[in-house]
């Protein structure tokens, strides 16, 4: 069994970048100075990811204001709407407003990916919104039904990943907190499956991971198990891990072993115990370990500190597996 580690969402901005971007807004810093700091900080995140032996690098997605903004600002049919609370957190996103059937602009999203990813697409972790979460959190004034919209966004994201795969990107995460917050059923669930069928076809031999967080994944596991993707990820701080169902399918399993809601570090031995139990129960072909959700819910230093658990757990698992990971 392969064990892979990586970030599953944005990394926090450094204190220096916090100051600089504040100064930019107040007219006290130039765009050139802030751009230089972005580049430096992204390089620091990559250095951290490499030092910890993470399998994908992300550069932290420090420039993305929220998960949807690059799409709402570049795709056809959208405007950027009001500040809206991001699930049960004290952070906010600008709700995309969809006025007409959406259309993607070729090249727009790849140009918005963090520069370190563009420099090394093969090792990049591309983090995108999942079609269900995207459709469910925007304001739909397009006239399309919610189900049709999930399907359409799935097809557009499939075109996006096809373009990115053509540029050499191989690992794609689709972020789907809404799947556990508001589990789909009936036609809605079928639309999710159809969307991911389109996406998986476009990715070909690449890796596709659907990452849920912010709620207990157990009620939605029957659907997660049907998704035609390489693996599904769950947030262990929110999911009753003891109730995660067994599986006979050799699919990938993502485990969010770092709780981004607290600065308290995780105990590696406790994480290893849970991971081993779930390994036996699910028999995953590949195991992805990472933060349960966006690590930018904590500041830079505690975030970096908390990530240290990943290599520790990986090493412990490898020792018990006789080095197979």
């Amino acid at each position: 069994m392969h064990v892979r580690t990586g970030l599953t969402g944005p990394f926090p901005r450094s204190e220096a970048l916090v100051s600089a971007t504040r100064d930019l807004d107040r007219g006290r810093a130039s765009a050139e100075v802030v751009e230089a700091l972005y580049l430096r900080t992204e390089a620091e995140v990559v250095a951290l990811e490499q030092r910890l032996g993470l399998d994908t690098v992300t550069g932290g997605y420090l420039r993305w204001p929220d998960l949807f903004r690059p799409f709402a600002e570049t795709w056809e049919g959208f405007t950027v709407g009001p500040l809206t609370r991001w699930f049960e957190t004290n952070t906010f996103y600008r709700q995309p407003i969809l006025h007409a059937p959406p259309g993607r602009i070729p090249g727009a999203i790849s140009a918005r990916l963090p520069p370190p990813l563009r420099a090394d697409p093969e090792h990049a972790g591309v983090i995108l919104p999942g079609p269900y979460t995207f459709a469910g959190l925007l304001e739909n004034r397009s006239g399309e039904t919610d189900e049709a919209l999930v399907h359409r966004l799935g097809r557009l994201l499939a075109e996006e990943t096809r373009e990115l795969a053509g540029l050499g990107y191989t690992t794609f995460q689709f972020t789907e907190p809404l799947l556990v917050d508001r589990p789909p059923s009936g036609a809605s669930a079928e639309a999710v499956l159809a969307a991911y069928r389109a996406i998986q076809t476009s990715i070909g031999r690449g890796t596709s991971l659907v990452w849920t967080y912010g709620g207990d994944a157990n009620p939605v596991f029957p659907l997660l198990d049907r998704l035609p993707v390489s693996g599904v990820g769950v947030d262990l701080a929110e999911t009753d891990w003891e109730a995660i169902p067994s599986s006979s399918e050799p699919r990938g399993l993502g485990l969010g072993v770092i709780d981004p809601r607290t600065t308290l570090g995780e105990d590696p031995s406790e994480v290893v115990r849970i991971v081993r139990t779930l390994q036996q129960r699910r028999r995953p072909s590949t195991l992805w370990l990472g933060p349960g959700g966006p690590l930018d819910l904590v500041p830079w230093e505690p975030a970096a500190r908390k990530l240290e658990v990943l290599p520790a757990v990986r090493q412990a698992l490898a020792q018990r597996d006789g080095g197979s990971s």
Binding site: R22, D66, N90, T91, R261, T263, L264, D296, V298, P302
Partner: protein
């Protein structure tokens, strides 16, 4: 004591005037700041009692005046603005406060600041972790209350951040670390309960007791985080009850931008909460009735006062007195008792420029006059 219907009150902070910001940083006032100062002083005479300070400030001698004296003037300015608008309960517009989290936490032991977290875009807030048992270093807000009490003509009403919000906006390390095993949902909830109750008992309650000792009779406990996790409404209540236990004052609970129905009926278990101060105007309009949720209070048989948000603090458009009056009358119908209504902005008006804030407050008061007339002379 019989009170007239629909008395008006302030609910939170005001935008700081330019002259205060420049002055408290020791910078000389520019022409715009001086003009702002003079216009408002002609209107409310807020600086009459501190004319020497005002003169020095206007003459460009901010450093000589000093930040504390400038903040005093800022507090007088807010009092003047509220009282001239006709509010029956006032405070200082939080003229001495910058925010509602960091300052209270810095008056306590057991916390360590961890760094900044992004709220949205390039906006951030500083966040602390509780790393030891919470204890109060010193009761806070006392001096600002003393100042308000000494200068206010209307009744002072002090706002203070509640224990649930302080806990929710912090990282829970100490109490979570005490939980055994994996820190899943149930462990986190237990740890959060301990944290909220400790904050309430050992930091907020002694502060409230000291404020009451200083003569504070009306206290608004702000719990803006209450709506973030509706399934924790019981923790909001537990914190409120622990913070106010055995204390004699008129307490209210301010919650805004939340789905109130999701917090009911748990919230109604808050003892000693005399008034719910909620936001409604923001959700009223465009075919939506923002006040309908009040029916839920009536359905649950809750008979407490309501601090009714009648103007939206996120829009520049100033509601007409007629619109405010309509909102008040609708709310009174839903509650079934007009005598339980106080009127106020939805939340602090610091989001609006001062001229807009002033006009909105005037509309609150004039709308209340119209609504009062409608109830007292229904055939008029």
């Amino acid at each position: 004591m019989t009170r007239e219907l629909f008395p008006a009150q302030e609910i939170g902070s005001l935008m700081k005037p330019r002259w205060q910001i420049l002055g408290q940083h020791g910078e000389p006032l520019d022409e715009r700041a001086r003009a702002e100062f003079r216009v408002e002083n002609e209107r409310t005479h807020f600086a009459d009692a501190e004319s020497a300070t005002a003169e020095a400030l206007l003459a460009g001698r901010s450093r000589e005046v000093g930040a504390d004296a400038v903040r005093d003037l800022g507090a007088l300015f807010a009092l003047g603005l509220f009282e001239t608008a006709g509010l029956a309960r006032v405070y200082d517009g939080e003229a001495r406060r910058i925010e509602m989290y960091e300052y209270p936490i810095r008056q306590m032991r057991g916390f360590q600041f961890q760094g900044h977290v992004r709220s949205f875009d390039n906006k951030y807030y500083l966040k602390a972790a509780v790393t030891d048992e919470v204890r109060l270093e010193r009761p806070y807000h006392l001096e600002e209350f003393d100042f308000v009490q000494a200068h206010a003509h209307a009744e002072p009403k002090l706002p203070i951040t509640g224990p649930y919000t302080l806990a929710d906006w912090s990282y829970n390390e100490h109490y979570l670390a005490r939980q055994r095993g994996w820190k899943g949902p149930s462990a986190r909830r237990s740890a959060q309960r301990e944290f909220v109750v400790d904050l309430a008992k050992h930091a907020i309650r002694p502060t409230l007791a000291a404020l009451i000792e200083h003569g504070c009779r009306v206290i608004q406990i702000d719990e803006p985080a209450a709506g973030t996790h509706p399934d924790e409404a019981d923790l909001v209540v537990e914190g409120f009850n622990a913070a106010t236990e055995g204390l004699d004052a008129e307490f209210s609970m301010h919650i805004c931008y939340s789905e109130y129905r999701d917090l009911l009926p748990q919230l109604l278990e808050a003892k000693r909460c005399h008034q719910w101060a909620w936001e409604f105007a923001n959700r009223d309009g465009d075919g939506r009735d923002g006040y309908e949720v009040l029916k839920a209070l009536r359905d649950y048989g809750d008979t407490r006062e309501v601090g009714l948000g009648v103007v939206d603090v996120h829009r520049d458009e100033v509601e007409t007195p007629e619109r405010v009056s309509d909102r008040i009358q609708r709310a009174a119908r839903y509650l079934g008792d007009p005598s339980r209504i106080w009127v106020n902005p939805d939340c602090g008006l610091r989001t609006r420029k001062l001229d807009i804030a002033t006009r909105k407050l005037e509309s609150v008061v004039r709308g209340a006059v119209l609504a009062r007339a409608a109830f007292e002379n229904p055939r008029a």
